[in-house]
Every structure is written in C-alpha cells, then in structure tokens.
C-alpha cells in the first residue's frame, strides 16, 4: 500500500517543488551570506533546518492513511481558528502586527497555516456529495464564512497582506460553479475600486449612472425609458441640490446622486412588481452596489487608512513619486533586479541585495536577489517554474475522482498563485508593497512548512486518487 503510494506520487510536481526550495535556499544563503563559516544560527542555517523539517513532514504525510485527511479537516480548521484568536491576546507584536507565537527560539505564524486549514475545511464542506453552490442560501453563507472567518481574524492581527490572500479562494468558488459573469462583476468592482484613487467620487458616480443607462439601453433597446430614467435622475439631483444651495447645507453632490438613484430604483421596484419582470431590478441594484462600494472605498481611504498607508497606495498608482520614503522599497527593488541584466552578476556577487539596499531582502524581497545575481534568465526561470507548477496542480486536481481532492487542489493552486503573483508584482512595481512571502523562496519557517505541507497533502491525495472515493 505504502509503496504504491510512493509510486503514485507525482514526481513532476515533486521535482518542481525541490527546484524551487533549492533555488530559494541558495538565494537566502546569498543574501544573508557574510563570508563567515556555515552556522545553523544564521538565517540560511535556520532555513535549512526548516527544509529538513519539511522533508520529515513529507515522509510523515506519506505514511498516514489517506482518508484521515478529510476526516480531520474540520478539527484542524478549528484548532487554527482558536490559535488565530489566541494570538490576538498572547501573540508577539512585530512590525505593527500581532501575528506570532514565540516558542523557544522559533516563531510560529498561525496565519501561514490558516490558508491550509481553510482549504481543508472548504474541501470537506464543499466536497460533500451533492453539494451545489447555489442549492441553498445557507450553503453559500457557510462557505463564505469558512473563508471570511480566518481572514477577518488575521485582519484583526493587523496583517492585511495575509488577510488579502483569502481573496484567492474566489478562484475555488469559481471552480465550484460561480457563473463567469460573477467574475466580470468582480472585475468591474476592481475597476471601480481603482478609479476611486484617480477621479473624484462625484465624477465616478456620474460615469457609473451614465454607463448603467447605456447598458440598459443596449440590453433592452428601450430608448424612451432610458431617456426617462436619465431625465428622472437629473431632475431629482437638481431638485436635491436646491435646498443645498438655498439653505447652505453641507450635503455633498454624491449623496444627492445616490438618493436620486435610490428613488428611481424604488419606482422601478414598484414597476417590476407590477409587471413581474424582476430581472429588470438587476441593473439598478448593481449600480447601487458599485456606487456603494466606491463610496465606502473612498471613505475608508480618506477616513480609516492611516497617512502612510494612503501614501503607499498613491505611490503604487503613480500619483505620488517618492523614492526616498515609501517608494524606496520598490525603487531599490527595481534597481536590484534591473541591475542584474540578462545574465545576472553571478551567484553571491549581487551588490544591491548584499549591501542591504533592498529592505527585507531575504523575506518578501527575495526575488531581488534572484534578479540581481541570476539576471533575466533567473527571473524568467523562476516564473516559468511557478507557472508550470500551477498548471500541473490544476491538471492533477482535474483528474481527481473525489470532489474533496479537486477542491483542495484548486485551493492550493489559488493560494500559491496569489502569493507568487502578488509578491513578484510588488517587487517589480506592479502592485503595492503587500507584505506576503514568495512561496518556497522567502526566508521564514511558517511559510515554507505550511506551503510544503499544503503541497504534500495534495500529492498524497493525488497518489491515492484511485482508492480515495469518499
């Protein structure tokens, strides 16, 4: 049985994993190497220890019974949730977030394991026989709760980056049956979100209303009604502005616009009930949703976020240029990567990373060392290996016979993708500096071990795909 498991392990995936971990360790060695003799107390030494622990866990996972994994899923999830709560009270506060348990000389970050636990619970819940995403409202809510609960707790710790990772489960939900237009709705939502930083909320509202009217016209072909709606909103807005001007009340334009749309929507609701054409409610509801989210983004940006977070976002979008302050990380990171050229400066010969120009060079910015010392060949290589690995995982996931394994595989691919994509995007200046590690590469035991176990469990499930039915 065991030997069969080992035979069935997907060696391509394993090879890709070993490649990434080995390359990662070499780069950690390079960025923390100071010319002294090898020692386990150094960062590369500790990381090597963690690679050893991962290997032991790999052997352990090979030897456990395959069916145990689904069986303990909820328990593991529960334990992790408890740890996430516990860390809020007794955790160690480092760098502005309370995310670590200190155990001896090692630090444990439960948030790193929360992704795995969530994947387990999600697979167990949605992998049940006959589970349909939209079969009951309750199912949907529970599913979302499984994802939102750890994310919320991590957000409470102050680790927004790690919380954001849970957004990656949207891909899993898509795989579970979320219609493609949902993805589109989300895409528009992202566009609206970004627009908030570039144009005023008033302009954004007017654009949204105009777009909604155009779409309505195209879909229904009712020019007359479109005109009536446009007229109604304009009229109501102007009417709403009269008291503002007359009584010098400080009511902003976007509030008036919002109320106007609400009134028109109310009229439409009565209309829809009268004619029984509920689908017509979809458009105005979406409009309200976008307006609401734009408004809340705007509100959060100016009233909830702290000054440094605002500048960080502004620098990202190119609204502010500041290479000594907030933009320093990304600027130095790009210099390090860019200076590598096509073939790189050679292993252990990076100057930018070695002399600490790049902050967090062996954790979140490890990719800079790759870029500087291995050049374009190295960076492109790492991206190709990651992409091949992701495609391989998806391929393996699709060949599973148990729904549990399919969902788990997609969870792995989604989380891995999100981490890798956001990390690299931030080092090359395509995304804001969100402090999440590059899987298998970045220094940090919790990250390495949790991703390794994540992958090993999936390989274990895959090795038993023919026997594991559930």
């Amino acid at each position: 049985m065991k030997s069969k498991v080992i035979q069935n392990i997907d060696f391509i995936t394993l090879l890709l994993y070993v490649l990434l971990v080995a390359a990662g360790w070499m780069n950690i060695y390079s960025s923390s190497f100071d010319g002294s003799d090898f020692t386990f107390s150094s960062r590369y030494g500790k990381q090597l220890l963690m690679i050893g622990i991962s290997f032991i866990l790999f052997v352990g996972i090979l030897f456990i019974e395959g069916h145990i994994i689904p069986a303990v899923s909820y328990y593991i999830y529960g334990i992790i949730i408890l740890m996430l709560i516990l860390v809020l009270f007794i955790g160690d506060k480092t760098g502005g977030s309370r995310s670590w348990f200190i155990i001896g000389s090692f630090k444990l970050q439960p948030a790193e394991f929360a992704k795995l636990a969530t994947a387990l619970a999600l697979s167990q819940f949605a992998g049940r026989d006959g589970f349909k995403l939209f079969s009951s409202f309750k199912n949907l809510i529970i599913l979302l709760m499984i994802i939102a609960l750890p994310a919320g707790l991590i957000l409470l710790q102050g680790d927004a980056g790690s919380a954001l990772v849970f957004a990656s489960f949207i891909l899993v939900i898509y795989r579970l049956g979320l219609p493609v237009y949902f993805l589109m709705i989300i895409f528009i939502e992202v566009a609206v979100f970004i627009s908030v930083f570039f144009i005023s909320i008033n302009t954004l509202f007017i654009l949204l209303i105009a777009a909604a009217l155009v779409v309505f016209w195209i879909f229904t072909g009712k020019g007359k009604e479109t005109f009536i709606y446009a007229f109604a909103v304009t009229f109501l807005t102007l009417a709403g502005l009269i008291p503002v001007v007359l009584f010098r009340k400080n009511i902003p334009l976007h509030t008036v616009l919002f109320i106007s749309v609400l009134i028109v929507l109310f009229a439409e609701v009565i209309n829809a009930f009268g004619k029984g054409k509920f689908y017509r409610l979809l458009m105005p509801l979406l409009l309200l949703f976008y307006m609401g989210s734009a408004y809340s983004t705007d509100y959060v940006f100016y009233n909830v976020l702290k000054e440094h977070q605002r500048t960080r976002i502004n620098v990202l979008f190119g609204i502010e240029k500041d290479i000594t302050g907030v933009g320093y990380n990304v600027h130095q990171s790009k210099i390090a990567i860019g200076s590598g050229g096509f073939a790189g400066k050679g292993y252990l010969k990076g100057t930018q990373t070695k002399f600490n120009f790049v902050p967090e060079q062996d954790t979140d910015f490890i990719f800079c060392t790759v870029g500087e010392e291995w050049g374009f060949i190295g960076t492109a290589g790492v991206i190709i290996i990651f992409t091949v690995l992701l495609l391989r995982i998806v391929k393996l996931a699709e060949r599973q016979r148990s729904a549990y394994s399919v969902i788990f595989g997609y969870s792995l691919a989604s989380v891995l993708f999100f981490h890798y994509a956001v990390n690299i995007a931030m080092t090359v200046g395509l995304a804001p500096v969100i402090g999440i590690p590059l899987p298998f590469f970045s220094y940090g035991g919790s990250s390495l071990v949790s991703f390794s176990v994540f992958l090993f469990i999936f390989l274990r499930l895959d090795a038993e795909r023919n026997t594991l039915l559930m």
């Binding site: 993805l183 002399f355 997609y410």
Partner: protein, 596 residues
C-alpha cells in the same frame, strides 16, 4: 469543467507573460537601473600621493614629509567605555568629547576627534586604542623642515582657496597647495598625482570591500623630488649672521645662475606654517615687526649706491669714452647748482676710482656718457645708457623660479622730460645716477646678479633655485646665457679694481687670505634713517664660484657690516669653514634693528 480549467490556466499564463515582459524590460532593455545600482554602491575615495622631497645642492633633505595621525570615531560602532581614561590618554577635553558624540550620535560616518597627532603621541595612544572599539587613527602626511631655515625660499602649503579651485580642476576643497616659494613654483612636480580607490559601500555608506579587487583603482603617483640649488648650511649660516638685522643676502653660483643662498631678514621658522599651525601662526608672523613674510631679497628695492660705479665704468669702457688708463683729477664735482663731495681728491686712476670709490670720477664718466656726441641729445644718450644698464638685468624682471620678484626702478628719458621739461635737463640734473643714487632702485637679487655678471665677465644665467627635478629636465631658461652689451674684455680691469677694493680699498674688512675676493662697497641713501650698507662680491677672481650681494638696512657704510658678512659667506662656501670666529660672534650679536 474544461472551460473553467481553461480560464484559470489562462489567468496563470497571462500573469506569467506580463511578468516576463516587465522583467525583460527592466533587466534587459532599460539601462537606468544598472546606473542607479552603481551610484548606490560605488564610492570613489581619493588617495593622496606623498609630496616630493626637496634636497639641497649637497643632497641634504631640506623639505620632507612627516607622518602624523588623525583620531576618528564611528559613533555607531562604539561600546561603553571609560571616558575619563580615554580623555586622559588622548588629551581630549571631556566636554568636547561629549559634544562631538551628542552631535553625531547615530552617525556611521567617522567623526574627527583630534587632528595631527604626532608620532610620539600616536605610539602612546595606539597601544591603548584596542580597548576602544569604534575609534581609529588615519594617517596624514605633513611637511617638515629639518633645518628650520629658508622659509622664504621653500614656501609653505595651505588649503586651496576659491581661486585655486577655479584655476585648476585637479584640486578639491580641502586639498593642500604650495602658497609660496619652491612649494608654489614647483607645485605640479611636487604634488604628484592623486589616485582613486573604488570601494563598494552598503546602504549606510560603510565600506564593504574594494571594487573588483581594485581593478579600476587608479594608483596615486608620488610627487617628484626636487634638488634645489640652495646650500642649506650656507643659507642657515646667512640667516644666523642676519639675525637682529633687516636686510638680505643673495648668493649665486655665477657659472650656472644657481642660487646658493637667499636670506631675507627677519626670517621665521618654516615649521611654524605646517598644517594646523598655519592658521594659528600666519597672522602673528605677518604682523610681526618688519614683516618676515616680505621677501626682501626679491622685493625690496634700494638705490645700488657705489656698487653701481662698476656698471658705469663698464658702459663707459664699452662706449670707448674712457679706458682703464683714464685719469681724472678731482676735487669734488661741480654739478652746477652744487658741489658733489668726494673723500678722494687729486689724480684718480681707473683702478683707484673703484678701489676707493671716487664719486667725482664717476660724475665725469657719467657726464661723458650722457653728453656723448654720437647722440643728438642728452635724452637719446641717456636712453642708450638705460639700455646698457638693463642688459645687466638691472631694472628688469630676471624671471627666477621664486615668483614675486620686483622689476626695480630705472626711468626712461621721458620721465625726466616730463619732470623737468623736454630739453631742460642734462647730465648734471641726474648726476646722482653716476654714483648709484637718485632715481634708481634694484633688488638684492639684481645686484647679486650684477656681481655674477662681473664674475662671468659679461653674462649671466637667470638666477634660479632648482638644480634638478627627478626624471625631468629643468626649464631651459635656466641654462641660457644672457650677454650684456659690454664685451667680455672690458670686465677684466673692473675685476682687477674690485680685487683691490678688498685687498687695499674700501673693504679690507672683507679680506680673507687666499680667497681672492673681488668686491665693491655701496651705501644706499636712506631718507628715512641711517643709510643701508651694501656689498657685492665674487670669488675667486679666476673661475669664480660664488657671487654675492649683502644688504644690511640702517647699517651705514657698506664696509661696516655688509662687507664682512659677504666675506664670511664666501669663505664659508669656498672653504666650508670660518677662520674668523670672533667676527661671526660680533656680527651675530649685533642688533641693528633699532639703530634708525
């Protein structure tokens, strides 16, 4: 499910393509990041070459470099230490130490604690310094003058000023440059060439390693050593003789134009102007009595007095207006409006005219020169005379390599035309020029050069202080002979007469048996006080090795002080000893400064 897998896989692949395109752009296409990386990490550090030494003509080191040390500290890398013990060790005031630390508490850059620690003190501090991590010493090089003499010749170094920076982009703020003397003239040779070391530094500016094992470093080129023509012992001897006197001594090797000594008095110790002492002492020295910074040998102008009679004699001989047999019977000289007195009377031969320094004789000579029938008028004859005088280098800039010499004074006829009216003056109006008084002013350098010309029997080589520059030829200006307008043959009778000046004439005080010194006394009239004592001489008479001019201000007749001093200089140079220690003692002890 196929479409979903396809959509998700597409997302993965699209992302990968975006990344690869972006990376290709910043790593391969765009160069700006590579340049930024170099700016980030490379520091160019100037390496100062050691400045060239200066030797005297006998190979003695007269300017050298002394190593000393700056004590520095990197405040971020210190550990707690015993401040009291440290202050005791280094002699730094505890308050100063505290202040320096307060100001630079978080600095990774070295902070200077104490400048120019000498080797002795360094040895003491270095022994203990290991107790104080973060503290270190940096080697610096300073000039040192072992003989504490010839300050006016050697010059001094000072920090470059705005002008220097503008004129030569070799210099950077804080660099040292020669400010006067040899240090200034031969700055380019002495300074060598600065080098550069390229280091890699980390984000805090701390040096990590040399860049590419020093492949791109530029080594500093050491400055060239210069052998000066100076005889430092002679110079020092001259300075001692001139102590408590105002004046100068210029000694030249006639055959080469090399300056053997160039004394200006009062003098100062060149070591007072080294490094940080410069700022402290400069003002003091500058404002001291009789300004020691004023190089009298090159810049002070005096009427040449009777020494000039040799020039008039030579010109008249060349012009054929007299011969060495010409005798004038004199009893003073009637200059029309007054009688010029003369301590010699009766029949005066050519030889005696110099030997006894007859005023009247030269009034007659000068009268002949100016009233020469070959010229249409006095003015033309006068101008011709001026051109003869100038051919002796008198009233011209000789062009030594010591800078700042004065031209001297000798006026063209137009000056007198303006003063008296054209045609309204004659030889008698300017008769004092016959005996080297009146409208004449020459520097000691120029009169020493006159002595050299007579020694050479008719030519001079521009006096210069450089004898030899390592691996380099000296300027050919200092090899070129300048002939006077007087032929060589006319010099012999003048030399004969000058010999008799010392043996039986006005300067027997300059007689040294066996040296055959030829000399001529002079007294420069001084309207402000006692006359200045002048003596020019050369020796030996045949194949002269030294020509000298001595000026002692407010010392009266030339025979009184200048002549014995000159004879001592000659003796010292020719025999490397002095046979008249009592004379040396008398001169050294004489204080002539207050005798105004």
């Amino acid at each position: 499910m196929k479409t979903k897998r396809f959509v998700i896989s597409s997302i993965f692949i699209t992302t990968a393509i975006i990344f690869i395109v972006k990376l290709f752009y910043i790593q391969v296409i765009d160069d700006k990041y590579k340049l930024s990386a170099e700016n980030n990490t490379l520091r160019h550090i100037t390496v100062y070459p050691s400045r060239g030494f200066v030797f005297d003509r006998k190979g003695k080191i007269i300017v050298a470099n002394r190593v000393n040390y700056d004590l520095k500290v990197v405040p971020r890398s210190i550990e707690t230490f015993d401040t009291a013990a440290f202050c005791k060790l280094t002699g730094i005031e505890p308050d100063d130490l505290k202040k320096k630390f307060e100001k630079n508490k978080y600095s990774y850059k070295p902070v200077l604690l104490k400048k120019q620690i000498d080797e002795e003190e360094y040895a003491r501090i270095a022994e203990e310094l290991y107790r104080y991590p973060g503290f270190f010493v940096e080697k610096r090089s300073l000039r040192t003058y072992p003989y504490a003499a010839a300050a006016n010749v050697l010059g001094y170094l000072g920090e470059v000023d705005a002008e220097d920076l503008k004129n030569d982009d070799y210099y950077q703020m804080g660099d040292y440059i020669g400010k006067s003397g040899i240090e200034k003239t031969y700055e380019k040779e002495l300074r060598g060439k600065k080098g550069t070391k390229i280091y890699m530094v980390d984000v805090l500016g701390r040096i990590q390693s040399s860049y590419k094992n020093g492949k791109y470093d530029l080594p500093a080129e050491a400055g060239k050593n210069i052998t000066s023509s100076l005889d430092i012992d002679l110079q020092k001897f001259g300075e001692t003789l001139m102590q408590n006197k105002i004046g100068s001594i210029v000694a030249i090797e006639p055959s080469s134009g090399e300056l053997l000594a160039l004394v200006t008095s009062p003098a100062y110790d060149p070591n007072l102007f080294v490094g940080k002492k410069l700022a402290r002492n400069y003002g003091k020295i500058e404002s001291a009595d009789n300004n020691p910074l004023f190089n009298r040998a090159l810049r002070s102008m005096y009427p040449p007095g009777s020494t000039f009679k040799t020039v008039n004699a030579l010109i008249a001989l060349q012009k054929g207006l007299i011969t060495d047999k010409t005798v004038f019977t004199v009893n003073g000289y009637n200059a029309g409006t007054y009688i010029m007195k003369d301590h010699v009377s009766g029949a005066v031969s050519f030889k005696k005219s110099i030997q006894l320094s007859s005023n009247a004789y030269y009034c007659h000579v000068f009268k002949r020169i100016i009233s020469d029938r070959r010229f249409d008028n006095y003015a033309d004859a006068y101008n011709d005379w001026v051109s003869y005088v100038k051919s002796f280098g008198l009233g011209t800039k000789l062009g030594t390599d010591l800078g700042t010499e004065r031209r001297g004074i000798i006026y063209p006829a137009s000056y007198f035309d303006k003063y008296y009216g054209k045609g309204h003056w004659n030889y008698n109006t300017v008769i004092s020029l016959a005996i080297g008084q009146g409208e004449l002013g020459f520097t000691p350098l120029q009169t020493a050069n006159l002595a050299a010309i007579i020694a050479n029997r008719g030519y001079y080589i521009t006096p210069h202080i450089v004898k030899n520059i390592e691996n380099e030829k000296i300027d050919k200006r200092y090899l070129e002979k300048h002939y006077t307008k007087v032929e060589s043959k006319y010099f012999e009778p003048v030399a004969d007469a000058m010999e008799s000046v010392v043996t039986e004439g006005t300067a027997v005080s300059a007689y040294v048996p066996g040296l055959s010194i030829c000399g001529k006394t002079g007294t420069a009239q001084n309207p402000h006080g006692k006359d200045h004592s002048i003596f020019i001489a050369f020796a030996p008479k045949e194949n002269p090795e030294i020509a000298v001019a001595v000026y002692v201000e407010n010392a009266g007749y030339g025979s009184a002080w200048a002549a014995p001093i000159a004879s001592l200089i000659i003796e010292k140079y020719l025999t490397d000893s002095v046979s008249r220690p009592w004379l040396v003692k008398r001169i050294e002890e004489a204080n002539l400064i207050n005798e105004k």
